[in-house]
Assembly symmetry: C2
Homo-oligomer: 226 residues x 2
DNA sequence: TAGATTGTTAATCGATTAACAATC
DNA sequence: TAGATTGTTAATCGATTAACAATC
């Protein structure tokens, strides 16, 4: 059963962070203008793709020159809602949870992890990359009080649905689910599931496809990454 | 500039691991047959999507009953090349690298991480989730000898291209790139880039889209996850 | 038989690509 | 001016969805 409207322009949305990253490098390098051509460079994308994507953000360019780097950054951030902050709590401080807490770029891109929880009493009280780990028992009270926009689920698949239900009952509506099981939430909830193996499946299929073309496949130029 | 042929049926390929996971649960539960309807359940997919995907794998079903669970698992694994093993080396044992090394399911899904490298001499010699960390200096000799299919890059973006070049010169052709910069490889190379922020961008866009629909949006049923 | 499901063909929808006039 | 680029409209391509006969 398919339900809930799909995300508009999903492929374009997924490309935005890469543009932002490159734009911030260009900005640091002192580039006042950035053209779609320049942005597409090294990204294995045609410039028309970039131009179409940027149009979604409402960015206005200058013919023959490009887009003002700063304006473009702001347009994309606004489009993604990264001009403000999304507040998040993170549940589960296993190795993946710890890796996410150590990820430097979240703050720069509008995600603020305010609270961290774990069920395991041996981990409670620890500091992980500067984040105090709270006991799950504290979750309802603390989450009801802080009202995070997003919960980042790094718990085992077997407890993911239960934790999601608890968070939903405390008012959380956005879920970034890194567990290996699917979760269901109420009609006003939103879920983004990350499956590490999806990427590996894609890589595997690419390798197999290449092998089938024969070791001496079509030798155009290359450099794909997505 | 777009180059290199795109992956065939990319969306279908990305759904395969989820099918495999569910099938393995069903198999453990003693289900001899699995139907597309049953597989689609709880996955926020229509059964027709599943049926089409399964057709790609060449799986043969039984009208009115479904697919033999074991046969279906094998078909999907064969389709993805997961009936054998892909051998991999992993470079960079920062928090992300360590999280990947701790990921239990890789072995079950055809990925075997044989060698681990790090540049930082303080980390060399450590055991990370049972993997000995070798000095980068050893990489050329060891990689030339073991000929891994895949290199998993968990290094900083600034060194990603250099490490990829080194690996390519040692014969590695598959790259799973977790760094935040794009890499370019030769025409017979294949790259899969994972950008954590892409998923966050998607979640952000979903949240914004929902908000625009108004707090009392269309109240169909729900439960999306992708 | 009735109900469920597969396999397949056709219709729809959306994303990518191409083309080009307008502009700096 | 010449060259580069934007903005926009149209064409193509591929994925999703619908429909339904055949089968167990």
């Amino acid at each position: 059963m398919r339900t809930s409207e799909r995300l508009q322009n999903a492929p374009s949305v997924r490309r935005m962070p890469t543009y932002l990253h490159k734009l911030s490098l260009m900005h640091s390098a002192g580039d006042v203008y950035a053209s779609a051509t320049k942005l597409a460079e090294g990204l294995s994308l045609d410039s028309i793709v970039v131009r179409k994507d940027l149009q979604l953000t409402g960015a206005q360019g200058v013919s023959g020159v490009g887009y003002k780097t700063v304006d473009l950054i702001n347009s994309i951030r606004r489009y993604l809602g990264w001009d403000g902050f999304f507040d998040a709590c993170l549940v589960g401080t296993g190795s993946l949870g710890r890796a996410l807490l150590g990820y430097q770029h979240f703050m720069a891109y509008g995600l603020r992890i305010a609270q961290v929880f774990d069920r395991d009493s041996r981990l409670v009280g620890n500091l992980v990359h500067g984040h105090y780990v709270h006991d799950m028992i504290m979750l309802p009270a603390m989450v009801r009080c802080s009202c995070p926009d997003i919960a980042i689920l790094c718990v085992p698949g077997s407890s993911a649905q239960g934790v999601a239900d608890l968070l939903y009952s405390c008012g959380v509506r956005g879920f970034w689910n890194f567990s290996d099981s699917n979760i269901q939430v109420g009609p006003d909830g939103v879920v983004q599931r990350e499956v590490l193996l999806d990427g590996f499946a894609t890589l595997s299929a690419k390798i197999i496809q290449k092998r089938r073309q024969g070791p001496a496949g079509p030798s155009k130029e290359d450099g794909d990454g997505r």
